[in-house]
């Protein structure tokens, strides 16, 4: 099977201006991925499926990943006036690197029996620009899995034939798999998690006699 660089070259030849990048995997598994530009994703996906040599006709897995905003503290040298004298002082500046939501596709080939080829797409941010193109028209197996990523992460797939929640109920309003999701306090039974979770739940329950876990 071709390496990631060769696949990228083939994509660039077939879909000019596709803007595919390589995301290298630092771990020992050797599974590197291709970063797609959302505007060309459908054309690239069609090429990957219909190409005679690659023949990636089988979409195995669609995963959502949440990369929250990161606060980075940098040390910057600035010239400041200290006691009337201009000096170069080191200052710590904090800036926020905006996060995004990422969708990872794992492709295999049933015709040629090779794989995986891994594709990634990132949204612009996590708040209001969360659209990505849906690949359901090219691989039907994305249908339920993209619904799940929409349900649990909030990525809106444009062009999906039936985009609604999959695992949570329809009236649910949050996206549970995001890293900043806060679960509700009012558990029905006694939770046996420790400390903070138990304390939050105790506020909603009637005081019990007898043994209580952890007290």
């Amino acid at each position: 099977m071709k390496t990631v660089e060769e696949i990228r070259a083939a994509i660039e030849a077939a879909v000019p201006g596709a803007g595919v990048g390589i995301v290298s995997n630092p771990g020992p598994s050797g599974q590197h991925s291709l970063r797609l530009n959302p505007s060309h994703a459908a054309a690239v996906a069609k090429f990957l499926r219909d190409d005679a040599e690659l023949a990636l006709d089988f979409l195995s897995n669609v995963t959502g990943v949440d990369w929250p905003d990161k606060e980075i503290a940098e040390k910057v040298k600035v010239s400041k006036a200290v006691d009337g004298v201009e000096q170069t002082v080191e200052e710590t500046r904090k800036r926020v690197e905006p996060g995004c939501l990422e969708v990872v596709y794992h492709l295999f080939s049933v015709a040629r029996k090779h794989g995986p080829v891994i594709l990634r797409m990132r949204t612009v941010n996590r708040t209001d620009q969360v659209e990505l193109p849906s690949l359901t028209s090219i691989w039907r197996s994305a249908e339920f899995q993209e619904r799940e990523v929409f349900d649990l992460y909030g990525v809106v797939f444009t062009g999906h034939p039936d985009l609604r929640r999959l695992l949570m109920w329809d009236e649910f309003t949050d996206h549970p798999m995001r890293r900043d999701y806060v679960e509700p306090d009012d558990f029905e039974y006694e939770p046996t998690a420790h400390d903070a979770v138990a304390a939050r739940a105790a506020a909603h329950q009637e005081p019990r006699e007898g043994k209580v876990a952890g007290q």
């Binding site: 990872v104 794992h106 049933v110 039907r140 249908e143 034939p161």
Partner: protein, 390 residues
């Protein structure tokens, strides 16, 4: 199977469910099958719109068994996720363990000693045998056979589960595979007991076959029902016996050759007619092939350690990176996608559930057939809700 880029326009929606116009002038009857239903293999609902007895539209509704397994895995260590994987496909806990262990071993390039690989193959194939026997039994029960073939399957399944209990401590929630091998070694007494059980299995499969395969009622109800075209099966990500019943030769044990499967010659049965009867026969034939694999593995198993001595149990922190590991579970391709950020807990832990993705084509298979066939078609997909909803 690929659709050429220059396909004519009418094939544009070739991988969408076809639209059926209801005949007559009556209303459609909307039936909710489930979640409380004896034949839905768990808590599962299908919203079916019927024109008389014909299915016009079928939308599955998931989430009744959602236990946020993936989010729990982000807050506990890698080892602590292992007992939770038992509960994904709760009938085949050992293959779930194996898939997770394989994914973590890919993440860390961990070696597995040879005896552990043989034990994994033995337990994995025994799991496949008991899963296929139960699956056929459940399918026949949904056809109305009141559980007799199911109880014969369960009788053999109990023998296999007794073996699991003697080795791993538990019948179903085994928690046996570890990253770098298996938890405990199998004693010589256990291997002898396993050989005795496996010696009785060909006779059981013959009895089961004789009871069911040429039964006229079974053939009338399942042949020609629930046809799944091969190109749609591949495009919809269907795997496992369902894909092979549609004639596609794709068995991950042969394609990826994970573990030591390349040492065991076995055949891959394929279906010609792509219907429910083919799926039933594929499972019957796969049981026979699995028995051959277990017999050979029990003969060839070498002595040695079952755990890599350098593998860590506590304080396990894989280097940052990601890996996707998959196996041929009895239901299909079970994959685990792990992203590690160097910490003790995974950053992202994803289960690729074969049962959920095999259900993508449920609507396509059921459209146009009678409501009575929906139960059979659904039973032939062979799902477990623990895996669908995680």
């Amino acid at each position: 199977m690929t659709i050429p880029a220059h396909a004519p326009e009418q094939l544009k929606n070739w991988n969408r469910p076809r639209i059926i116009e209801p005949g007559g002038d009556g209303d459609l009857l909307e039936v909710a099958m489930g979640p409380h239903h004896p034949s839905t293999h768990g808590v599962f609902r299908m919203d079916v719109a019927l024109d008389g007895e014909r299915v016009i539209r079928l939308k599955p509704v998931f989430g009744y068994l959602h236990r946020n397994h993936e989010k729990i895995a982000e807050s506990v260590s890698y080892l602590a996720s292992m007992p939770y994987t038992d509960r994904l496909d709760y009938i085949c806990s050992l293959t779930n363990n194996w898939a997770y262990a394989l994914a973590v071993e890919k993440l860390t390039s961990q070696e597995v000693p040879e005896r552990a690989e043989y034990l994994r193959v033995i337990l994995g194939e025994l799991t496949r045998i008991q899963n296929h026997a139960s699956s056929i039994g459940f399918l026949i029960q949904e056809m109305g056979a009141s559980g007799t073939p199911l109880m014969y399957a369960f009788r053999e399944r109990e023998k296999i589960l007794d073996l699991f209990e003697a080795l791993t401590g538990s019948r179903m929630m085994c928690n046996y595979m570890r990253f770098g091998g298996c938890r405990v070694d199998a004693s010589a007494a256990w291997l002898d007991a396993a050989r005795k059980v496996v010696a009785g299995l060909p006779g059981f499969v013959d009895e089961f076959d004789q009871l069911l395969s040429s039964n006229e009622i079974l053939m009338a109800r399942t042949q020609g029902v629930g046809i799944l075209r091969p190109e749609l099966a591949v495009n919809a990500g269907v795997t496992g016996p369902m894909l092979r019943a549609s004639g596609i030769n794709y068995d991950i044990r042969k394609v990826d050759s994970y573990g030591i499967y390349n040492r065991f010659p076995f055949r891959v049965p394929l279906g010609d007619h792509w219907d429910v009867y083919d799926r039933f026969m594929i499972r019957m034939l796969e049981m026979r092939e699995s028995i051959k694999i277990v017999e050979q593995a029990l003969k060839d198993i070498p002595a040695g350690p079952v755990m890599d001595p350098k593998a860590k149990i506590r304080g396990f922190r894989p280097k940052a990176g990601e890996a996707y590991g998959r196996i041929e579970a009895p239901k299909g391709e079970l994959g685990f996608y792990l992203i590690s950020d160097g910490g003790p807990n995974p950053y992202r832990y994803r289960v690729r559930p074969p049962s959920l993705i095999n259900l993508t084509v449920l609507e396509d298979m059921c459209l146009g057939s009678d409501i009575a066939d929906v139960v059979l078609i659904f039973g032939s997909v062979d799902i477990v809700l623990g895996e669908v909803d995680r």
